[in-house]
């Protein structure tokens, strides 16, 4: 007896061994009703190819185009720079920052495990310790994100007065940083935050377009600053709520 599951796999030419394929092929050749059964099965399933097609919204297409332009621009700049230029003072500062961060993370991970356990804290000390612990915990990704948002805000103030080249450089830097934070947000299971960060890209690309009118530039800048403020406010709210919860949990304990 040949089941519909077997017929399905036969039709897909996948998931059956040679002997089973041979058996089904012979059965199909010999039994017209089996062929009809298989045709009906596939016709039913092929209805699924009529799934409605959704139009891609224009803003989404623009967002994809912008991200491609940014990636293209970044890669061209990288190709054009001689290798040793990567070792400029900026990279030195960045490398030092990364090294310092790595050391501090390593110390914070290593020492709490190796030092002697502290004496039992008093009640007030418990709250303070827990708050400090939370702040420390939040200070990893959140602190860096806050710093990035703050820095972005400051750079937006700078670009108004900056030369065209400097403006382009600053904006590209912000976009690339933004992409890194968006990927980090994905990894931290913060999809909404990742989306918000990615949604800055088209506005940033608009700001970098020398052809736009001043009013359009000002509008895009104001919009971006507003969105940055919103994200910063949300981050503060989340952290404050978490600290309050920590304090409440401790006082109930």
């Amino acid at each position: 007896m040949i089941s519909d599951d077997d017929l399905l796999l036969y039709q897909y030419n996948d998931g059956l061994d040679a002997a089973d394929r041979e058996r089904i092929r012979n059965a199909l050749a010999a039994q017209p009703e089996l062929r009809v059964r298989m045709q009906r099965l596939m016709a039913t399933l092929d209805q699924s190819k009529n799934l409605p097609e959704t139009v891609v919204p224009e803003r989404v297409r623009l967002r994809w185009q912008s991200s491609l332009e940014v990636a293209a621009n970044a890669s061209i700049k990288t190709q054009m720079q001689p290798r040793f230029r990567h070792l400029s003072w900026r990279y030195g500062v960045a490398a030092f920052g990364v090294a310092a961060l790595t050391v501090s993370v390593a110390l914070s991970v290593y020492f709490p495990r190796t030092v002697m356990p502290p004496p039992a804290p008093s009640f007030t000390n418990t709250i303070e310790t827990n708050l400090a612990a939370h702040q420390q915990q939040a200070s990893g990704y959140e602190r860096r994100l806050r710093w990035h948002l703050l820095e972005t805000e400051q750079q937006l103030d700078v670009i108004v007065e900056a030369s065209r080249e400097m403006r382009a450089e600053l904006i590209e830097k912000v976009i690339l940083e933004n992409q890194r934070y968006a990927s980090a947000a994905d990894r931290a299971n913060e999809p909404q935050l990742a989306r918000v960060l990615r949604s800055f890209a088209p506005t940033l690309v608009t700001l970098n377009d020398e052809r736009i009118a001043k009013s359009e530039f000002d509008g895009a800048l104001a919009q971006l600053k507003f969105e940055l403020k919103v994200v910063q406010a949300r981050l503060s709210k989340v952290t404050t709520a978490a600290i309050t919860n920590t304090a409440a949990n401790v006082s109930h304990a």
Binding site: D4, D14, S48, T54, R63, Q65, D186, N189, P191, R195
Partner: protein, 185 residues
């Protein structure tokens, strides 16, 4: 800035833009069927585009690039789904827009109704069943490829696929019979 870009790598960037214009509806819809979430589908296509751009030297033609982006976008969609908390999908497809078609109003109406029924039928499947069915039947992936992407082994994938097919047949048989009657007349 963009003029400068085009001077440096006109073919590649133009090729990407042309593909984006021509094929993005297909990528987006494939991802949308997998995720049933427009934002995740948008992110998946963007991720795929950026990955493709980073590896652009490896592609020899538009067809290869298109196929590659399509596949990477689907994998990105699956990955984004995995990372996201589960959602209920009751109303997700309510605002699915039908593409304009130059066919008769009756056929258009029938297609719309069929499309909506398929969406409803798909909605009755579990996430695993739906993804297995879409990747196998619509995208033509091998069972091993689906297993590698979704996790698990080919037997699990087969079983999910069989369950999906059984459920879909219950809902879609009516349309099949209608089509057969149309064919006879």
């Amino acid at each position: 800035m963009f003029a400068f870009l085009r001077r440096q790598s006109p073919q590649k960037l133009d090729q990407f833009h042309a593909l984006l214009r021509d094929r993005s509806v297909r990528w987006y819809n494939a991802c949308l069927r997998i995720t049933r979430d427009s934002e995740l589908a948008e992110d998946a296509v963007q991720d795929a585009l950026l990955k493709a751009w980073a590896q652009r030297a490896e592609f020899r033609g538009e067809a290869e690039l298109d196929t590659w982006i399509h596949r990477i976008a689907l994998n990105a969609a699956i990955d984004l789904m995995r990372r996201r908390a589960p959602l209920l999908y009751d109303d997700v497809d309510a605002d699915l827009q039908m593409a304009a078609a130059s066919i008769s109003p009756e056929t258009q109406y029938a297609n719309r109704a069929l499309g909506q029924d398929i969406v409803i039928a798909m909605g009755k499947l579990t996430e695993m069943e739906r993804q297995c069915f879409l990747l196998k039947h619509l995208e033509g992936w091998r069972l091993e490829e689906i297993a590698a992407s979704l996790g698990g082994n080919t037997n699990n994938i087969k079983q999910a696929l069989f369950r999906a097919v059984r459920k879909l047949r219950v809902d879609m048989n009516e349309w099949n019979e209608l089509n057969e009657r149309r064919g006879e007349t």
